[in-house]
Symmetry: C2
């Protein structure tokens, strides 16, 4: 197929989208590539995702994908300073749209995890920890992915609670803080929801979407992002992994990081 056969300027590649667009009053107006367009609505939950140097890419972006589908929600990437914040591998940067002091109030705070370097730095960054504690006073949910729970714990928010974290950090979490590690994909303890490593943020975000709305809305979001996972291997559960596989996973992780 060449250009001429699909050159109509208004088409619908998603079944039903045109009708829905008409029904909801949205129009497909092109916006400048780099501007932040105003989204209609925005009266829903305000989600703030904290970025800091060395986070793991999927930790913030998986939940952001899911939570940005919650009706009326706004998802804002936040960091000490506005601008690009780079991942643990150094390959990718996501833009922080707001600095910490530009964020007044959030319904949800999400703290992603990072490699060893990024996690340790975040746990020792009193500016970050103060901000997390401050925002937590008014959040409906304070959440983490992967080693982000170590950062929440360092902020003093998980004392006496059940929580999860990256599988290789479970021992550290329990030894360092007054936290009971639970090896689940995500753990709810009051308004604190912690997710296991990296990809577990997706599972957690669906539950969080339901808490912010209802089960049926969460199911529709799951279908909207076609989250019917079928990994080609069955090696993601550390409880069933051999010591060799675990050592190999940690070496791969360490080697991939800057």
């Amino acid at each position: 197929m060449t250009g001429s056969t699909h050159s109509a300027t208004r088409r619908t590649v998603l079944r039903g989208t045109a009708a829905l667009t008409a029904a909801t009053g949205l129009t497909a107006v092109a916006s400048p590539a780099h501007a932040a367009p105003a989204k209609p609505g925005g009266e829903g939950p305000r989600v703030g995702v904290l970025l800091y140097d060395g986070y793991s890419l999927l930790d913030p972006t998986g939940p952001a994908e899911v939570l940005s589908r919650v009706p009326g929600a706004t998802v804002t990437m936040v960091a000490e300073r506005r601008g690009p914040v780079r991942t643990d591998t150094g390959d990718v940067a996501v833009v922080a749209e707001r600095s910490l002091d530009e964020v007044d109030r959030l319904d949800v705070v999400l703290v992603p995890g990072a490699g060893n370097r990024g996690t340790v730095a975040a746990m020792e960054n009193q500016t970050l920890l103060r901000w997390i504690r401050h925002m937590n006073r008014r959040t409906r949910f304070t959440t983490s992915v992967c080693t982000g729970s170590l950062v929440l714990a360092a902020a003093g928010l998980l004392d006496g609670r059940r929580a999860t974290t990256y599988w290789a950090s479970a021992e550290y979490l329990e030894k360092t803080f007054d936290v009971r590690y639970v090896p689940e994909r995500f753990v709810e303890s009051g308004k604190f929801i912690t997710a296991a490593g990296v990809s577990a943020g997706l599972d957690m975000a669906l539950r969080l979407a339901a808490r912010l709305t209802d089960d049926d809305t969460a199911r529709a979001i799951q279908l909207a992002v076609e989250y019917d996972p079928r990994p080609p291997y069955d090696a993601g559960d550390a409880r069933r992994a051999s010591p060799e596989l675990k050592a190999r996973a940690l070496k791969i992780l360490a080697d991939s990081q800057v």
Copy 2:
């Protein structure tokens, strides 16, 4: 717990990381937050992820998370122009590190999907399509997530092939192009690998990681990102979804987009 109990400047929050770090000669040197640090190695596969206005956040970032763990790999976000490229919801921007003409050769090209607006624009953007065709001449794998397969098809690369796409775009794919839709998480057809909607890029990326290395390395990467998915609902398969749920998912998607 307060700051004083975890104030050591060099600690290991990931079990075994310190020993591995020593063994592999890596040191935990802090790097400036916004600089792109040089990763040791980099002699592995060069992966280019094409960003364009209105892509869905998880489409490029899920696979980038997985593929950045392939030993020696570099993952580069590429777009028409360097700089931030914004998602379909307008909430988030990922930085394109290179413009199209700055990329000489890639082992893997990955084209993410987008909402209706972004997909249609990409399918009609001759600069993007030309670049995809040009890169494809030397790739080992040319891949897509979600409606990214419509962009590959618009570039003329999927003629006569089996492929998948976002569930709501399957009919459009088959009617518009000489492509047979296969409702799998990902479909391999020669060097072309297409993934289903949004989250399916994770499943595809694991298989791709195996093709670039071997099954055991892919398993270690799966454990490294703790990809043992357990969504709290079972609503991600469009083949088993009610018409009502599908309509609701598409409305949620349309309403979330700018």
